[in-house]
Assembly symmetry: C2
Homo-oligomer: 224 residues x 2
């Protein structure tokens, strides 16, 4: 037994890679048989190595999680979520990982929530750095702002993917490029020249804690 993570040429690692590719391209409902065909093995071998499709998914999640954590520590700290996505999109090898992330965000689950929280933290740190440098305006609720910006950005990317690339998506680098090309300017404009000229709307919304004070589910949007 070669115990997986040492060789990258192990059959088990090859299966995992094929699974990440297939999950990214076709979504998590892709069949075990399709993955096995992509990996050049029999369907039974996948179960033999991973126990079940769910556990295979779990190991893929962990792999992607480690992969992204590796990228983050590799590069300089203080990266925005979008920049990370761009970086992911540029390198060919990263394409499947990026696709996997988007699929994960589309389907929910533990990895999705994990990555979202991770990105929120990054964005918050990035904004704080910018604020100190003077390029980013301070906010009355920095944590909530970082959360909102992350949610709208990732959500927009998700929506763009589902709308313009239904079914299996062959090339996620192109998707991200399209997305940037379409939304970069209006986003930059909206966050540089304020959309609302009237402050009434903002002042109406009580700025005490970041929420509207509704008792609804404790989203905990306030201070992080």
């Amino acid at each position: 037994m070669h115990s997986g993570s040492k060789d990258d040429l192990t059959t088990k690692a090859r299966i995992r890679q094929a699974a990440v590719d297939c999950f990214a391209r076709e979504g998590f409902s892709v069949s075990v048989r399709a993955i096995s065909e992509h990996a050049g093995v029999s369907p039974g071998l996948i179960i033999h190595h991973f126990g079940s499709k769910a556990r295979l998914r779990g190991e893929c999640d962990a792999h992607v999680r480690r992969f992204i954590a590796g990228i983050k520590t590799e590069t300089v700290e203080g990266f925005s979520g979008t920049s990370m996505l761009q970086q992911l999109a540029e390198v060919e090898q990263y394409a499947s990982v990026l696709g996997y992330v988007v699929r994960s965000l589309q389907s929910g689950g533990a990895l999705a929530a994990d990555l979202f929280e991770l990105t929120v933290e990054d964005v918050e740190r990035f904004l704080a750095v910018g604020e100190e440098a003077g390029t980013i305006a301070p906010s009355r609720a920095p944590a909530a702002r970082a959360r909102y910006l992350t949610s709208s950005s990732l959500g927009s990317l998700m929506l763009h993917t589902t709308l313009h690339h239904p079914g299996h998506t062959p090339d996620f680098r192109r998707v991200v490029q399209e997305w940037i090309a379409e939304y970069m300017f209006p986003a930059l404009e909206s966050y540089t020249e304020p959309v609302f000229t009237d402050r009434t709307l903002l002042d109406t919304c009580t700025p005490r804690e970041g929420g509207t004070g509704d008792t609804g589910g404790g989203a905990g949007a306030g201070t992080g």
Copy 2:
């Protein structure tokens, strides 16, 4: 034979309504048997009336499409997408339709693209009205801005749904309430007090065109 579309108490209409409910709550992968159980009929009857599950889905799409069009003409013109969603969320009967819309946006397809374009038009009109009234600042690319605002809003709502309510979602009104409670203030703030204090980023991005201008892969930057 009651000839379908006249009575709303027709079995066929009841099946359609049950299908909309199930699709909204459990997603489009819900089984025909589950729908039939919810409607109090046999699975075969669904096929007998609609031919196939795909055609049932098609009729549900059309029904929701008509429903939303009805709401829009019913209310005053010039509604933002968010307001429409809010309105949808408030009335109990609309809950399943709202859920259906979100599911549709999650899965892609013709209805999703249709509704998205429809909302973009609404938002653009809404912004134009506000601009004329002086509450909304003019944009160098109004169409692109409306598109961006729509995409980020709907995308954020989608992401919130998938992250915080995986699997079947019983009450979409609450989801929207949570979403508003969490993101209303930071969104308002970000669009009233500019996030970027430096105009350099915006000026770097060439503002040449109004539509979906491809500004190409510009330099990476902040999350909006």
